[in-house]
Structures are given as structure tokens and as C-alpha cells.
Amino acid sequence: MHVPALGLMRLYDTRQIFEMTDMLESIRSSPEDHVSNYPRPAAATPLNPRRRGIIIGASDGIGASLARRLAREGYTLALLARRADKLELLCNEINQTAGESRARAYTHDVAAYENVPPLLRQIVADLGGLDLVVFVAGVNYPPGGMDKYNFENDRRMIEVNLVGAMAWLSPIAEMFQSAKAGQIVAIGSVAGDRGRVGNPGYNTSKAGLATYLEALRNRLTRYGVNVLTVKPGFVQTEMLKAAQGATPFTIPVEKAVEDIWKAMKKRKQVIYTPSIWRWIMLAIQFTPSFIFRRLSF
């Protein structure tokens, strides 16, 4: 699902990466939240402890791959996305591999903020608690050139990538703070580290998300809650196929998921995947504005 950073791409060469109109239509006409028929996962016992997680944006890409990985590590999961069919297939696969009910699907549209509180309550009851939330959902609508502006697209990116994340993470942060335990993971992007010519709206949404996560981290660390910001570079997801131009250091989804899982275990704060982006973005962040504003990426 993750649309990558567009870090070094020459964006004025890039066509519209994704035709978003259909997708947006389906966002607007939010269907009734659908829950899969799998039985509620068994309650944890001391000898069979279960960590419980929500993945928002789990139908493919990093979300789906992380769901498989976390299920293997013993998590019971609520998987959320708009596409019910894809979610059901994923749940089937996970539950069959595990030999028990370990994942349940919940059809949900991130931009339908008012649905979040009741759905969250239902999921927490179904899972028997909550230890982890992973926010993966995100959209990217590059304007398609340095001279192109599209407020509607910008707004939608903010609505999904930033406000959608806040709609979920805000109540969950409150619960974790109160419970003095939990882990919050959200997929940002290297694109959020600097405002660039290519995609102001996307940059803003991811920068806003990163700042929001930093603020949550500063609030929650003292309560024993870990907040991990993941900043991927190019990851081979469905959307990358549509990308044109250079996509250096592209990694398979599995590699990104491996990095995320390791960082989760170590309860890290911010990671880049692959890690080389840390150094690239360091250089980019320290590029003085009088140079940066003359560059065309």
C-alpha cells in the first residue's frame, strides 16, 4: 500500500503515478463496516500469551506482509482495509497457516473518522485487549509536474495519511497511556523529511505524521509506551510499479517488514528502511535552502 518516497526522482518527468479517481470514489461512499466470520481468537493464558494488534491498511504491500509476519510471531490481529475480498483472502491464509483463528478482517475506510470509536471498541473487545497498533494506510497523488497544483488531491492525502492516522492513534494513545503499556507503529516516509518540488501535499502529510508521532512519543515514553516511526524509501509494492523515473535502493516488501519487526522488538523510535536512507536524508536535510530550492527533485 505504501507509495514510496519519490526521493531522488525527477518528478517533472513523472506521470500521474496512480489514477486515484476510482479509489477516492470508494473512499467517499464508505460501505458498512464488515467483519469477517472467523471466531474471536482464544483468550490469552499465562502459558499461551497473545499479543494483540491492529493493522490499518492491511490488504496488501507492507501491511499485508507485516500481518503475515506478526501472525507468525504469535500476534492475534485485526486487519483493516477498504477491500473486503483481499482482507478475507489474507485472513484465510494466516488462519490456515496458524491452524487457529489468529486474524480477523474489518472493512474500514480510514477517512470515515466517525466510524473509528465504535470500531476500535469492537476490535479491542474481539481481540481481548490491545498491545500494538500499526498504521500503514496512505495514499499518494503526485501532481505530475512542477507546475501542477491540485488542492483536492492534496486535501485527500492529508485526510487519509494524516487525519486518518490521528483518528486512530489519538484514542489508542489515550488507552495506552492509561494502561501504561503498548506500542504504536506508523509508516511515515522519507518524503516527510523535507518539502520538495515534486509533491508538496504528500510531503506535508508525511511530515505532519512524523511530527504527530514525535509528539505522541514525547508524551507516551514516560508511560512505557513505544512509538516507532518507520520511514521507508522505495519498496516494491503495487504502487511502485506505476512509478516512473529512477527508484534507487528499491527493496522487496519482505526486507522492509524484517526491518520493521526488528525495530519493533528493540522498541526503536525512528527507522529508515533500507537504512542507507538515513544518511541520504541526513545529507538532504542539511542541504542549505539556497541550494535546495534550485534543485529539481
Binding site: A42, A43, A44, T45, P46, L47, N48, P49, R52, P118, R121, Q122, V124, A125, D126, L127, G128, G129, L130, P171, E174, M175, F176, Q177, S178, A179, K180, A181
Partner: protein, 467 residues
């Protein structure tokens, strides 16, 4: 009464081996309980009552649902020193209770090994004491209780009025209704002291033989079992048997019954605070350390002792070292208690203890007691013995321990044994069905349907065993 996200609380079992976050409501009034029942139904959430949280398993946990913390509903409503009848709210602890009645020459007829438990929890699990073979479980001393059902209905039960609910709600794990007031009969005592005999038993055969032989003449009897000893020493340990002093045997009764003479000391040698002792116990909570401690304890127990001890000191062994359960480290502990008939206990426990030693998963504490059957619906009572075994839980031993306890379940069930819902955390629905029987489960579910048609009351334990 709204559901607030900042009520979301990480609750634990007593052994710190299981965590279940839920929305906690701290209530003190009956009307508030009704409000929470209504709220839960509106939101599609389930509710579990929690008292002191002293169950070793998931009896007071309701992951993702609502937990009613009733520990604040702890008033002793009436106490009559002439008749020994006391009426309490459900959050009253055994500590409050004995401290109220003891100076007047009374003692709770049945107490657990800790005084921190609440009466509501004691009734829900229908606890037993070291006198189970004499006095039965705590439920047999309840004269009357009132409870509120999830439907909002308030009921009163005695052994003759609403008798079916009386015998089901006591032992009913809080799944039929919430106790709101409990009336109990206390037991007369004539001294603040008890006469205690302690002697060593060299093997399991004699251990169980002595429990059986001495129980009829004793008010209380309990055994410590060295779970590390193997071979011909398997099941060795020490038995403590105690009698109340009869009227006139304590010339200084008025003095010995004063509360100051009952309280457990908080310091060792008057200097070292016991609350810090568990830190010094941690280095010994491993196979080698426990072997050393048990062997030393057994050797020390060899000479026969006879002494007088205060009630509190004899009964509340688990309160000697505050927070001792923390010595078990990050993974915490679980307890596995099995109740076996007289005839099959020795062979079954020999097999179980042997198995735990061969697997290098020995129990770190073994306690034996003598029991008898009772009339309560979800009873664990049996004409035989119980053996409680504490196991340390670590990240590395979880799966091996889980496998071993499943084998234990098979051994216990084929020996005609039973389990106790305040203790075992891994009992499966199949194991529960095997010892309770289909008829008992049908009856319980029928009452559940009558009292709680919308499935409001559910705990993690209920879902595990009856779900």
C-alpha cells in the same frame, strides 16, 4: 456513566503471568453496577467483577471488556458479637473481617492462605481453607446473600430460598450476578492462639497417610511437599496440624485475642523490612536454589515441633512475605492444583511429580490438603486430597510447561480428579467438561441464560472454560 478511554487499565492475575487490559470502573454503589450493566449492553461489551485480584488465573480478567472493581465496596454493614453473624459488602477483605470479629471471640470459619481476598471473590470461587474436610467451603457458612443480576433484577438467596441460585452463584465465578451483600456465620474461638503440631513425613505414602489419619482429630491440617525430592523420597515434606484451644485452655485469652497480638510482624528481627525480602528470594527461584531451600527446610523440619501460634500467623502463610510472587521474576508464576480421590492420589501425584522432575520443570512449592465433597454446582470438592504446585513461567519454558500441564490434566482426569477455578489457568473447556460432567454444565448454562440472557457477564476464565 460514560466509557472513558482513560479507564483502560492493564490488569493482571495474582502471579503476574497474565495481563489483560480492560475498562475499569471503580464502584461503590449498587445503582452504579446497574448503570454499568446498561452501558455494557448498549456498547456490546462484557463485564467481569474484580475484588482483590488474588486469583492465580483469569477469573477476574476481562480483556477488552469492562471490569467492575468492587474493592471499594467494602463496608461491614452489621456485626453482632452475640450471635457471630456478620453482613458485609462484597469488597470486604478477609483481613477486614477477622480484624472485626476476632477481638469479640470469633473467627471466619473458612479462610484462604492470604487475608487479602475479598468476600465476593471468595464466594465466587467458593474457596476452601485448611479445614475443608471439617467445615467444607466458605459457601456452607453463608446464611444469606443479595445479588444484582445483569437484567437489573435484585435477588436474595439462602440455602432454602432461591436454593438453586444459592448453590450456583456461590462457586459461579461471578457469571450469574454480582453479590451486593453477604451474611455469614462466624465461628466461636476461646483464645487468640492455636495449638500446632509439625512433623516431617519421609515420602508420599506417609504424607497422604498422615493427612488422612490425623485429619479427623484436627481442626486444620496442611502439608508442605518437597517437590524436588525424587526416588524413594518423592513426596516427602512436613505436616502442620492445628487445633483451636478449647474454652478455659488459654488463661490469658483476653490478651491473646487482642489485634496487636495477631498481626504479622512487618520486620524481621525488628529491623529488616519484609516488604524488601522478595528481592533476596529471587536468586533462589530457580531449580538449584529451590533444591537447596527445600532440602534445608526438610532437614529443619525433622524434629517434631509442638507450639502455640496466633490465628493470623497460622492461617495467612502467604502474607508472611509481602509481594513474594514478585520473586518469580518477569514471567511470573502459575499454580496447578489438582484434587484427587483418596484411592488414586498417591499414584497420580507420584507420576506427576516424577514427570516434572524428568522434564526439569519442577514445581517450586507444593502444598497438600485434605478435602470432602460439597453441594455447590461448580464444586472442586472431593473425598480426597489436593496438591497445589507453583511453577515459574519464563519465555523459554512456556511451551514445555504447557505440554506438561496437558499431560497432568490427563493423569488427573483419568484418576477421577477435579480442578479449582481460582487456581489453574490452563484448564481447557474439554478438561472442565470431563470433570464437571455434561449435566452440571447444562444446569450452569441454563441458570446463566435465566440470570444473564444477554451475555453481559463474561470473564476470560468463562470464555476459556465455558465459551
Amino acid at each position: 456513566m460514560p466509557l472513558l478511554l482513560n479507564n483502560f487499565t492493564q490488569l493482571e492475575n495474582f502471579g503476574h503471568s497474565l495481563r489483560a487490559p480492560s475498562y475499569r470502573f471503580r464502584l461503590t454503589r449498587i445503582e452504579e453496577i446497574c448503570e454499568v450493566f446498561r452501558l455494557a449492553q448498549e456498547l456490546g461489551l462484557t463485564v467481569t467483577a474484580r475484588g482483590a485480584g488474588r486469583s492465580y488465573n483469569d477469573a477476574s480478567l476481562n480483556g477488552g471488556g469492562i471490569t467492575l472493581d468492587l474493592s471499594g465496596m467494602n463496608r461491614i454493614l452489621e456485626w453482632d458479637p452475640a450471635s457471630g453473624v456478620v453482613r458485609c459488602e462484597p469488597g470486604v477483605t478477609l483481613e477486614q473481617l477477622w480484624k472485626c470479629v476476632e477481638p469479640d471471640g470469633w473467627w471466619p470459619p473458612v479462610v484462604s492462605g492470604t487475608m487479602k481476598t475479598t468476600l465476593g471473590g471468595c464466594l465466587a470461587a467458593n474457596i476452601h481453607g485448611k479445614n475443608n474436610y471439617q467445615k467444607g467451603p466458605i459457601g456452607e457458612h453463608v446464611l444469606e446473600f443479595s445479588a444484582i443480576l445483569p437484567t437489573g433484577e435484585s435477588i436474595t438467596c439462602t440455602p432454602t430460598i432461591n436454593a438453586d441460585l444459592f448453590y450456583a452463584m456461590i462457586s459461579g465465578l461471578g457469571m450469574l450476578g454480582i453479590f451486593t451483600s453477604i451474611t455469614m456465620q462466624m465461628k466461636r474461638i476461646y483464645s487468640g492462639l492455636m495449638s500446632v503440631d509439625a512433623w516431617a513425613v519421609p515420602n508420599l505414602h506417609q504424607h497422604l497417610g498422615d493427612l488422612l489419619e490425623h485429619a479427623p482429630n484436627r481442626d486444620y491440617i496442611v502439608g508442605w511437599l518437597d517437590t524436588i525430592a525424587s526416588g524413594k523420597n518423592i513426596g516427602r515434606g512436613q505436616i502442620h496440624a492445628a487445633n483451636h484451644l478449647k474454652e478455659g485452655k488459654d488463661s490469658n485469652a483476653r490478651e491473646t485475642m487482642r489485634l496487636e497480638n495477631q498481626s504479622l510482624p512487618t520486620r524481621i528481627f525488628g529491623v529488616f523490612p519484609k516488604s524488601a525480602l522478595h528481592y533476596f528470594m529471587s536468586p533462589f527461584t530457580n531449580n538449584l536454589g529451590v533444591w537447596g531451600v527445600n532440602t534445608a527446610k526438610y532437614i529443619a523440619s525433622l524434629p517434631k515441633h509442638t507450639f502455640r501460634q496466633s490465628h493470623a500467623a497460622f492461617h495467612f502463610l502467604l502474607d508472611y512475605v509481602p509481594n513474594w510472587e514478585l520473586a518469580y521474576g518477569r514471567g511470573g508464576l502459575i499454580q496447578y492444583q489438582s484434587f484427587l480421590p483418596k484411592g488414586t492420589a498417591e499414584e497420580a501425584w507420584r507420576e506427576m511429580i516424577g514427570l516434572s522432575q524428568r522434564r526439569s520443570l519442577p514445581s517450586y512449592l507444593g502444598v497438600t490438603k485434605r478435602h470432602r465433597p460439597d453441594k455447590f454446582l461448580l464444586t472442586h470438592g472431593i473425598d480426597g486430597f489436593s496438591l497445589a504446585m507453583d511453577f515459574k513461567v519464563t519465555d523459554r519454558n512456556r511451551s514445555a510447561l504447557s505440554k506438561m500441564l496437558k499431560e497432568f490434566d490427563d493423569i488427573v482426569l483419568s484418576a477421577g480428579g477435579r480442578f479449582y477455578f481460582a487456581k489453574n489457568s490452563e484448564t481447557s473447556a474439554e478438561s472442565a467438561r470431563a470433570f464437571l460432567g455434561d449435566e452440571t454444565i447444562r444446569k450452569f448454562k441454563e441458570l446463566k441464560k435465566r440470570c444473564d440472557p444477554n451475555h453481559v457477564l463474561e470473564s476470560d476464565l468463562f470464555r476459556r472454560v465455558f465459551g
